[in-house]
């Protein structure tokens, strides 16, 4: 397909702005742009059709099943987007006075109240723009806490080997050394190894629960207690919160700080990679360190932005976070209410168990007794015996109009496919997925040499990724 730069012709364009009604200013030469500015010259028709063509080459949740493990690709309710388009939310300047933005501040205060109740935390900041940004912020809180106490030797963050890659990367960005602890053969944090790993240099421990193998840590209270006993704090990665809303709360498991992914559990759309929102909640012992400003409720029922936070870690972003994403999440919470949130988690876990149950006689599922909201398939044997990889199987799924599961994660399971159906899929969709997964298994085992050729029905075949990285072409060049 042509790039927008290869369409149109010089002189074409859209007529968007009026002529000036005030005198035009002559800019001094020393400030004037010298180089030619190459931008598309397209009519509105061409532009509109260009993006319709791109749209047809994009697969969204509305197109079909999207069981990306750890990503919680649930349906994105349309009312959320409608509410985020209300002019009262979109057309307000972030530096307007408090009196003129009471509704916006109320949105953030209510979302904070509800999300704290859901997670068992005391306070929350919406400044972080994404999950990784939330991790960065949450770890900053831990660091500020130890520093305030004069406890300066705590320079290590412990993460399990099944952790998301962002966990160690965020710890490094906050200046921490990373200690990995192994998982047991059953898929849980190795409590003995954790006990050996902690010490006076432990700043904190990062965990998602249910963990990335889809298992609820049976010894969670013992785990968080080991960290607390050593003087460290517990960080909850909220990626998998969708499994436990109304069932159990991070705050009751011994976690001191959490980040949430509003674009996962709270149904805000992913937008092809963002914007998301990664609010950070914490227990009272960390509240003073939260990013500034904070939204507070005055005695008279009005809302204020408080900048008087002397112990705050400071700002992690301009303004107050991805506000319109918070609007969507609040809309969702109001829609579901206390019953609906729990019901969503129950069905997320039910759908995963239902699908796992139907697949376990076909595929190797390392932890198949029971799962939470997601489960792992390992294709290690298939790879060894037939040379068919997790990638091959994933690519085959594309031909059936389904998004593949997350591939090659977690790292401690070879040839992993991580399946998270979510609660918004019907039984028929799950049954159809099971049928397709089984059919693909049959195809690749009987004709393993064909497996590397998938997909065959998509707009492009497998791209040359090695070539892309070796000879990077990262932009179009005019007049080559």
């Amino acid at each position: 397909m042509k790039l927008i730069f290869e369409k149109g012709s010089t002189g074409r364009g859209c007529d968007l702005l009026p002529p000036s009604d005030v005198p035009v200013i002559n800019l001094e030469d020393k400030f004037k742009r010298q180089s030619k500015l190459n931008l598309p010259n397209v009519s509105e028709t061409e532009l509109s059709r260009h993006y319709t063509e791109l749209m047809k080459k994009t697969f969204g949740v509305n197109d079909g099943f999207y069981p990306l493990g750890s990503c919680t690709m649930k349906y994105n309710p349309k009312i959320n987007d409608d509410m985020a388009k209300l002019p009262g939310f979109t057309d307000i300047h972030p530096l307007q006075s408090e009196e003129t933005t009471q509704g916006a501040l109320e949105v953030m205060a209510l979302a904070e109240e509800y999300l704290c109740e859901i997670t068992g935390m005391d306070n929350m900041s919406f400044q972080p723009a994404a999950g990784a940004h939330g991790e960065f912020t949450g770890l900053q809180l831990i660091k500020a806490y130890h520093e305030k106490r004069g406890d300066s030797k705590r320079d290590k963050i412990i993460v399990p080997d099944s952790a998301h890659g962002t966990n160690p990367a965020s710890a490094a960005m906050v200046g921490y050394k990373v200690i990995n602890v192994p998982s047991t053969n059953e898929g849980y944090v190795d409590v003995d190894a954790l006990r050996d790993a902690v010490g006076e240099d432990t700043a904190g421990f990062m965990l998602t629960n249910p963990n990335t193998l889809g298992l609820f840590e049976a010894n969670i209270l013992e785990i968080t207690n080991i960290i607390h006993q050593a003087g460290g704090l517990n960080y909850y990665d909220g990626a998998n919160l969708n499994a436990i809303m109304g069932i159990a709360r991070p705050g009751d498991m011994g976690f001191d700080v959490v980040h949430l992914n509003l674009h996962k559990t709270f149904s805000t759309p992913h937008g092809g990679g963002g914007p998301g929102s990664g609010p950070v909640g914490c227990k009272l012992l960390l509240s003073d360190y939260l990013p500034s400003p904070r939204v507070i409720k005055g005695a008279e029922g009005s809302y204020h932005l408080s900048y008087d936070n002397p112990d705050s870690i400071g700002r992690v972003k301009a303004f107050y976070g991805n506000f319109l994403v918070v609007v969507r999440a609040l809309t969702y919470i109001l829609s579901l209410g206390k019953e609906g949130l729990k019901h969503a988690s129950i069905n997320a876990v039910l759908n995963a168990n239902y699908m796992m149950h139907q697949l376990k006689d076909t595929y190797h599922i390392p932890f198949s007794d029971h799962c939470m909201h997601e489960f792992i398939i390992s294709l290690e044997d298939l790879k060894k015996e037939k040379g068919v990889s997790a990638l091959d199987v994933a690519k085959a799924m594309l031909d059936y109009g389904m998004h593949p599961p997350t591939m090659y994660f977690p790292l401690n399971v070879p040839e992993a496919l991580m399946v998270e159906p979510t609660e918004t899929e019907s039984k028929e969709t799950l049954d159809e997925a099971v049928r397709v997964y089984k059919k693909i298994y049959e195809e690749v085992t009987s004709n393993p040499e064909l497996a590397h050729g998938y997909p065959r029905n998509t707009v492009i075949g497998r791209p040359d990724e090695v070539g892309a990285a070796r000879n990077p072409v990262l932009r179009y060049v005019y007049n080559k």
Binding site: L16, L47, M55, F59, G60
Partner: protein, 439 residues
């Protein structure tokens, strides 16, 4: 109940039976009793769509929408073409995930590639990433990118947006990067002072052009000073201004960053926006964030993929160039469609109109007693004046007349802004009110 769960309670029971469970309680046998929440959440019950719509709308209506805005300071109201809103409302773009599966994500990938191209064109740089969270985090990431083993000092001009400086301080503190603020005189970076601060341990200088006060800095001369010491030169720009102002590359910058919000994104109470970030080829592998590259598929057809992933957290974990694992994709697409629609002519026009309106406003303001332009240098579309009466009081008066006045910098200092959306009539109305209250 559970509004978006399609399966009925009967279907759920049948599914439970099929997997050998008696009730939904059995699904959570793994969860120890000691951590169970044995009560309902203390939040309201579920509501119908109509009820929720009413509640949210009533909150939205508690916010005041100003028909006339003369405030910028990091967030700008520009005209948003209809085509921008239509295209970025397409469900496929809204609901898709990060384009890991290239075969079914060519649409998003190509749009990011086109976005990267236009950011390079605007800034004069060789390589752009797929965007980061916002202009402030883009600046912070650029600083981290510049630090070398023997160069650990980041100099930030005092004329940079204070929110950007605050964000940088948070990022740098935990990495033990020294942050030094270079003072200003007459609303621009003080060159003599800067020269003293620049040394062999300086990793970079961050300059904002036009700066927070709207002033145009002598960015070319500053670039020469920075280059003499072998430090990296980072310029943060208002992207609209790049339609007519010199590019960061023309000033000798190594990294160009900025807040992309003016490109078709509504004010939205501060977010979501997007940070753009571009650099020279030599720094390509240090650039954080997602990058899309062009390649071919197994039949030789043009294809786009996420590339240079060896920099990223899911491969490198704690050794990654950043922890970022997303971009503001839909905002980047918004910016791209905005630029497609505007073209060179439209963008230039938006920049020229913004500058002309701001200068017209400044001229009329100066005719009122007590309003004086504080910084005398050339400016783009923002400028600072004194105020003859208490600024908060003045803003309140304007608010009551439906105008969001300039941004108060102090009791007697205001940062004004105008863009192409401000009409001559609006400016005269503002001036009339100010004349009334200034006497």
């Amino acid at each position: 109940m559970g509004n978006y769960v399609p399966n009925t309670l009967e279907e759920q029971e049948a599914m439970l039976g099929l997997i050998g469970m008696k009730s939904s309680e059995d699904l959570f046998v793994q969860v120890p009793k000691g951590v169970r929440l044995n009560r309902e959440f203390d939040i309201p019950s579920s509501k119908s769509e109509m009820e929720v719509s009413r509640i949210m709308t009533s909150m939205a209506e508690k916010n005041k929408i100003f028909k006339t805005i003369f405030r910028g300071a990091g967030a700008y109201r520009h005209y948003i073409p209809s085509i921008v809103k239509q295209i970025t409302s397409k469900e496929e773009f809204i609901t898709s995930y990060t384009p890991y599966q290239a075969e079914i994500s060519q649409g998003v990938l190509q749009s990011i590639f086109e976005y990267q191209t236009m950011i390079c064109e605007l800034t004069g740089m060789d390589v752009s990433n797929a965007s980061v969270y916002d202009g402030a985090t883009a600046a912070a990431e650029a600083i981290i990118m510049s630090v070398e083993r023997k160069r650990n000092k980041a100099i930030i001009s005092e004329t940079v947006d204070p929110q950007i400086l605050e964000t940088i301080k948070t990022y740098c503190k935990s990495l033990d990067i020294e942050v030094v603020v270079a003072g200003a005189s007459n609303g621009v970076t003080d060159l003599a002072n800067l020269e003293k601060l620049l040394d062999e341990e300086t990793a970079c200088l961050l300059l904002q052009q036009p700066n927070f006060y709207g002033q145009l800095e002598d960015a070319e001369k500053i670039g020469r000073l920075v280059a003499e010491k072998g430090a990296k030169y980072i310029i943060s720009s208002n992207p609209i201004s790049l339609g007519i102002l010199k590019t960061p590359a023309e000033y000798g910058a190594d990294i160009a960053v900025g807040e992309g919000q003016p490109f078709g994104i509504p004010l939205s109470f501060g977010g979501p926006y997007l940070g753009f970030m571009a650099t020279k080829e030599k720094l390509m592998r240090k650039l954080p964030g997602r990058i899309v590259g062009e390649t071919t598929d197994n039949q030789g057809r043009r294809a786009f993929v996420l590339t240079l992933q060896a920099r990223e957290q899911h491969i490198r974990r704690e050794k990654a160039s950043s922890n970022i694992c997303s971009n503001q994709a839909l905002c980047a697409m918004t910016a791209a469609v905005y630029l497609d629609a505007m073209g060179e002519r439209g963008l230039k026009q938006a920049a020229e109109l913004s500058m002309a309106k701001a200068h017209y406003l400044a001229r009329l303001l100066c005719e009122i007693d007590g309003f004086n332009i504080i910084y005398k240098g050339e400016f783009f579309n923002e400028f600072v004046t004194s105020s003859p009466i208490n600024v908060d009081k003045l803003m309140k008066i304007l608010e009551d007349r439906g105008i969001l006045g300039g941004y108060p910098l102090a009791n007697d200092k205001i940062l004004w802004c105008a863009t192409e959306v401000n009409t001559k009539e609006e400016i005269h109305k503002l001036i009339d009110i100010l004349k009334e209250v200034a006497v």
